[in-house]
Symmetry: C4
Subunit: 292 residues, 4 copies
């Protein structure tokens, strides 16, 4: 949507339509959570692993090794912690990443976690034409279903680059939730050009993503990141809302950072009525159509 006309010269319809493409609609936070829960904690793990290095066409050995670290050290540490604290979570896998480490994916699914989709190999699906995107999306779902036995029902766009067309395509492919955008702290409807799409949008904000602090070139302070995540969690709890946290096994899985997740899990368990939830369970609790 690169514009030759500067925005100040646009007629109102033009900026109205630019804004209306995808927009948060009605809140889907229920008046009361099921089963006596007071607030929910929805953990998501982006398992891009080596795929990030492949996608941008510069798979150096350094970056590939950092990707492999995710499966060798990061993922096992995460799974141990989740098990120790009885927490279920959601793991986003590009198909290629799942094909490289199918045993990992089976382990994840076998432990009761949700496996969700994000791409074939890290591509930005919103930039591709419908048929190409359809092929890759279907390939991703087929691959994950073949490995786990269950077809993914949720999605996150690479880099969060969801488009109205892609959102419709997700719905048409049977997805019931998406976790790409950060217009709110709690789940809500997603409107495309003003119409509810029928997808539950689970917030994904940069503040609650370890990538914002620990990506290469952002040597974040673990104590600060913990402080931010803890505050997000505690205010979500006070509000009776959802604390959605996105983590990357290669980033949070480091010896100097994994304690952040452990502390959050410990604190969560001290909060009466705070429940762990997969993204799929959250979507169901928010009344998603077709949710289990």
């Amino acid at each position: 949507m690169a514009e030759s006309e500067p925005a100040w010269s646009w007629p109102e319809e033009k900026w109205q339509s630019a804004v209306a493409g995808l927009r948060a609609g009605r809140s889907l936070k229920p008046k009361k959570w099921k089963g006596g829960a007071r607030a929910l904690m929805a953990l998501g793990f982006d398992c891009t692993h080596e795929v990030a290095a492949l996608t941008d066409g510069a798979p150096t050995s350094v970056r590939l090794a950092e990707g492999q670290y995710a499966s060798r050290q990061g993922l096992p540490r995460i799974l141990r912690l989740l098990k120790a604290h009885g927490a279920q979570a959601t793991f986003f896998y590009p198909a290629v990443s799942a094909m490289m480490t199918p045993e990992d994916v089976k382990l994840v699914a076998g432990a009761g976690h949700e496996v969700a989709a994000c791409s074939w190999i890290g591509e930005d699906l919103g930039l591709l034409d419908h048929d190409t995107a359809q092929g890759l999306l279907a390939g991703c779902c087929d691959t994950l279903e073949r490995i786990t036995g269950a077809r993914p029902r949720g999605f996150r766009a690479t880099g969060g680059a969801l488009t109205p067309a892609l959102a419709r395509q997700l719905r048409d492919n049977g997805f019931i939730w998406d976790a790409s955008l950060g217009a709110d702290d709690d789940p809500h409807e997603l409107l495309a050009d003003g119409e509810p799409l029928g997808l539950v949008e689970i917030p994904h904000g940069r503040t609650c993503d370890d990538l914002a602090y620990f990506a290469a070139g952002q040597p974040g302070a673990p104590e600060t990141v913990f402080d931010i995540f803890r505050r997000e969690m505690e205010m979500a709890y006070e509000e009776g809302g959802v604390f959605t946290l996105t983590l990357h096994p290669d980033l949070i899985g480091k010896r100097s950072r994994i304690w952040i997740l452990e502390e959050l899990l410990k604190i969560a368990r001290t909060l009466p009525g705070m429940r762990f939830s997969t993204h799929g369970e959250l979507a169901a609790a928010c009344g998603a159509r077709g949710a289990a």
Copy 2:
């Protein structure tokens, strides 16, 4: 003012005139604040919301969602806090942002806060010719007046890019204060080519703007930002001056950051004689011509 001649080859008149374009003049801090106040706290909120994403021609869904967060979560949290602490503040709205959320703007004005102008749709008015800028500036004022019932009397330039011509235009349009530049900590005259313009310049420094710490790509530590703002406030209080703080609802409004504003408000109320002030009230206290 890109120069082909290097500055070391300029004659004195040239650098003197480059510097004299806009310059801080006489301090307007009164010897004594009215009503027994010892120092003032002037909060300003930049309500750019989705407009920032539109302006630069790349309105991705991620950035638009971050803009929508400002009105869905950020603004309500801010208004609740201001009400709870009895604080009046100033809200800067581009016209288009106000047109997207007119109920918000009415709520802001109805709660006794000041609504001020900044642009039509985030454009840099100082870069446009006089007539184009006049059209956009008048459009912004008309829009805000239509929604709130009051014509804005104060202004902040997008990116702080005030020019001598734009400053004169502001004065000619009935503005009585501007809050674009950071040449001082306290309000002062604004000189254009050495002549007082009759505008009260209310300082806007990067140190006291959450954008400097929380803008995308600046994952600031909330504890550090609080420490900086607190120190600015406390020294303003010691000096009997003004603590001007600029905040963005999409940035400060996050669950992990809103406490910063709350703590500042709490501390402010413990300081005897510290008073909350809108920018307009501050301009009046500094003897602005035409101020209420």
Copy 3:
């Protein structure tokens, strides 16, 4: 490996082979460390000094002076601390850096530390053809052997840019360990196109490298960096693994940072069974072929 075809269009063999070039294989962490050690601390110092300024073709006086600081102030402080705490470590020297400060290199070797190779003059050996790389690599080994009396048996690629070809070349030149990649926290086999190379790969992750925090433009907080390194060390100890730390004399050697190393050494000595190890000794403990 810049690709004109986007990764999503690649057949499986293509991404499989891109990933398989160099890959972490079997862990080489022994079930039990020799001599009753419970965990190992392997310190490495990158002695690039002025060479970094020469390599990129912009040897400004500022950058050269920062390089000279490494040998004038950084190295002596480091050697004093290592001696005081009875710690042996590994020092990586480009040949040219060693030729500029041969007395330093003798001092290092004479104190029982290991001297390892990294390049002739900071070049990226993996980008050069076999014969050119061979000449530079041999020149580096010859230079270090002439100064220290011992031929280097370990290597780190500049910028970590190891390639399969370069890894094979290292093995063919008699190297027994490499410390370029960060696929794991503990030593492991290195596979080239699926085949074990016979090199012990000693992990080098950005998290445990002071360059990530203190390089020009990264004005890291010493307290934060200490916190990260300490946590890495303590979890390595808990796991009975290896804490590999990479430091640069020009960065860690500053008056405001050298305490980080001192504190780590002090803490290490309070941990029962934590032993200091050169990289070469570590490779031997991991069963390297041809290790002393």
Copy 4:
């Protein structure tokens, strides 16, 4: 010195001569400081003010205002603190900056501080031909002498970009010290192509410069910066050396940062034998030729 030939192909003479251009020589730290001092604290203030905005050809009103802040708020705060703690310091003025605020410069000199040179208007003198540089350097010295009554004897190159030719020119113009480079923590000889120049080089490292933390785009944490400066000061004291600190009135002069200087001054006064020194006094204590 952009090179078409990569450094690995250079013959030894080439890199030897690239390194030898300007190099730290013999330490000039005396065995014992005069008058019973145990260590020295040499504060330097870079008074670039609006000149930084002029130099790069983009004097926006925002940047000019930030420059004016230095003289309106930063400098008075600094002078008050130095007076309160009985500390003498050195102030570096480009000629144009001094011409814009001559009363400031007189105040500085009148309070017993040293005024030193750095450029005419922020230009990089090392990039200009000898005669042009001579004209600007002489103009700077003449200007400062006209305002203060004393000819400057010390210099700092803009951006630290000292060259061998410029260093010789400084000596030929009667300068006795330079403070551009950071090859050491304590004063030392400066060698040009191996020959002592007769200038005392007073270290200027990035670690001890507030620009590294507070420059636009580096929103440093005041507590961290204080921690770094304090550690540098304390280790300088332990070593019986010199703590050289470079500050910018527009950066350190902010309400949220000026306390850093105050705390350092307070701590310095608690250290027995720690003495404040101008750069000129320091050069004299190090045996500078022609020093007062």
